[in-house]
């Protein structure tokens, strides 16, 4: 939605702007290098080339869509917009369906499977989950991006995000040194909960999808409710 005043300002400004240089040569240069890397690993270790290609595709998607996990959890509270939050929920719905297909192929026909056989990241849940989430959440909002967001912004050329990356690396090194301490304190005594093992595979899937869809509808409703200016 634009107005006459804005159109006038835009026209005035447009004349002052110099034409931009095309960045296509850079694109082809970087594209060519990534292709060579993918091709090199095709012969030596095909796993690397698959991960490399998928990683690049995820990166392009996230950059172009301006997908940001930090904003998705911050904006609903700060300004009342939930479009990114809903995008995360949709992502979770899709990955729930995808993961259940893989898990069903692996364990669907086995009556008494062990959790180690189930594909995916199934880890103990407990106090450490809450503590870690709070720490990560605070850091993410102060730094202006989560891990993927920080990397994307470094790629775009934001110097500040390089500082964040240094902090990120220091934090990761420190935490891997501390892991044993946390493991003794909370993680080893916490339970690993895999809901399908308790109530069956399909009921668990249905419950999870229902919960996510309800959250989506709630977020949609919340977005429409917040039409007033945020009080700051």
């Amino acid at each position: 939605m634009s107005s006459n005043k804005i159109e006038e300002l835009k026209k005035r400004r447009q004349k002052e702007i110099k034409p931009k240089k095309s960045q296509l040569p850079y694109f082809f240069f970087v594209g060519f290098i990534s292709f060579i890397i993918a091709y090199y690993f095709l012969n030596t270790n095909i796993r690397y080339s698959i991960i490399w290609t998928i990683g690049i595709m995820i990166g392009i998607t996230m950059q172009r869509s301006r997908f940001c996990f930090a904003a998705s959890f911050r904006d609903p509270i700060m300004v009342g917009t939930t479009s990114l939050f809903r995008a995360v929920i949709i992502g979770l719905i899709i990955s729930t369906i995808g993961f259940s297909i893989f898990q069903y192929i692996q364990i669907g026909n086995i009556a008494n499977y062990s959790l180690a056989d189930v594909p995916g990241q199934i880890h103990p849940v407990g106090f450490h989950t809450i503590l870690g989430a709070i720490l990560f959440g605070i850091g993410m909002v102060i730094a202006g991006g989560c891990a993927s967001g920080t990397l994307i912004r470094i790629g775009e050329g934001y110097a500040m995000q390089v500082v964040v990356l240094i902090g990120f690396i220091i934090g990761t090194v420190l935490s891997s040194n501390h892991f044993e301490f946390w493991d003794k304190l909370f993680i080893s005594s916490s339970k690993t909960i895999y809901i399908p093992k308790h109530i069956g595979f399909f009921p668990a899937l249905v419950i999870q999808l229902t919960a996510l869809s309800t959250l989506y509808l709630l977020a949609n409703w919340y977005d429409k409710q917040n039409n007033i200016m945020a009080d700051l």
Binding site: K5, L9, V79, M160
Partner: protein, 75 residues
Amino acid sequence: MAEYKLDCMFEACPIPLLKALKKLKKMKIGDVLIMQTDHNCSITNVIEWTKKQGHYIDYIEIGEGEWEIYIEKAK
């Protein structure tokens, strides 16, 4: 009609949005806010937020990765 400039260059997300929000509150109806930012997330979240509030908004790219956002307070 008054024009206000807001320099949000090199500010991290979500500072541009918060600055615009505070400035808009002080402005009168019909005033225009010109916001300069190098943060591409501002394009999405400032525009989404302003449209929801019902103000007029548009933007142009003034350099590589630098934008000017125009907001006219409508209510």
